[in-house]
Symmetry: C2
Subunit: 219 residues, 2 copies
Amino acid sequence: MFAGLSSEALEAVVGAGSVRKLASGTRVFAQGDPGVSGHSLLEGRVKIVQARADGGQSVLRFIGPGEMYGTVAALMNQPFPADAIAVVDSVEIWWTLPTLRQLMRQHPDIGLRSTAAAGQRLLDLQGRIGELTGERVETRIARTLLRLMEKAGRRTSEGVEIDFPITRQDLAEMTGSTLHTVSRTLAGLDHRGVTGSTRRRIVVRDPRALAQLAEQGAD
Amino acid sequence: MFAGLSSEALEAVVGAGSVRKLASGTRVFAQGDPGVSGHSLLEGRVKIVQARADGGQSVLRFIGPGEMYGTVAALMNQPFPADAIAVVDSVEIWWTLPTLRQLMRQHPDIGLRSTAAAGQRLLDLQGRIGELTGERVETRIARTLLRLMEKAGRRTSEGVEIDFPITRQDLAEMTGSTLHTVSRTLAGLDHRGVTGSTRRRIVVRDPRALAQLAEQGAD
DNA sequence: CGCGATATTGACAACGCTCAACTCACGTGG
DNA sequence: CCACGTGAGTTGAGCGTTGTCAATATCGCG
């Protein structure tokens, strides 16, 4: 996000923000709260979770080090559309809305970058819209694991491990399914040697096979 | 989109673009084409349709008069992520990418507005992500009809009519279903007096009942 | 060591997709 | 003006995927 900024600008940005630690489980902001702050993660993982009308939840995305979150709502003067919750002990830097606006005025690059990032997310989401409907749960899970792998994968002797704890429930809320079905599906993948999953940990043993499953049904 | 611009700026914007008529069925741009143009609809309706990996299609949104389309891809130097197709005879104004950039430089308001519009779409899409999974087809259809009604509704003696032709297939592609299920569901809604649908036309007779269905399952 | 969070597994039902046949409206051309 | 073809819509039968309900197992933290 801040890569390529002049060191001068970078100093101003860091100086204007506040750094704070987030114990695992901490809620950074809550859905419905007025969006009066922008955030960037320095270390750890934060998940963005939206409560649905039917009482369920949807995990919209996981934030990794270097990513911004909460800024779109803040800059549009809207309430936060989702909760942000640290899933491991983390460190973030955050800014008040006036500070954020001022930084953008003084360093237009920041505004451009955040616009570009929002545009990218818009295109990504449009792509996901289609995937979420009509496809089988196994396909959606495969796709989700691939994305997590690329974003938060860590090579180990067993394969590529997703480097933060993720529950069956989380996966269900990302794929629009239930933890029961996810459990069954993962058990099947484990059995076939594609993945290895233990409590809150998932290792992808055979990325090729997973990619195969993710594109199932493509012509 | 352009409301609130100075008349001077407005003249510059209109002068720099080209106006053209779109016969019903015309494809304005195609998924995968380099995004080298920005568009705004003056009259009619255009639908944005994305081809999915499994061979199916997703209708992402319908564009009405005054709305911009194709601009996010263009400004990010990316290929268009979807097709744009006129569903009735329409009129649009469009700009080349260099022209668009220059207009934004000369009238920063335009850039701000399009960023705001993109942010709004981002929030909308996030909301839709949750809806699309787990909810029953009837619920998704009800929600979709409500949105169409608000956006393109025209009061008639029968109720609120969606003012452009829309097929069961379109509705299926918007809700991630099949035309068969949509046909059955709509027949059910018609029977209960909630809607009245004929070939390519839909009238909402009882918006309250529709809203009720859309929130089915809420706590 | 005990409890809560997490995960597994089975039985069952149902929603909605697939396949298939048929009807209806509309526009085109002979 | 009517025959015909095409696109749009309807309806039925069957079944698979997946959600629901329920019971049990296991891991870890306090």
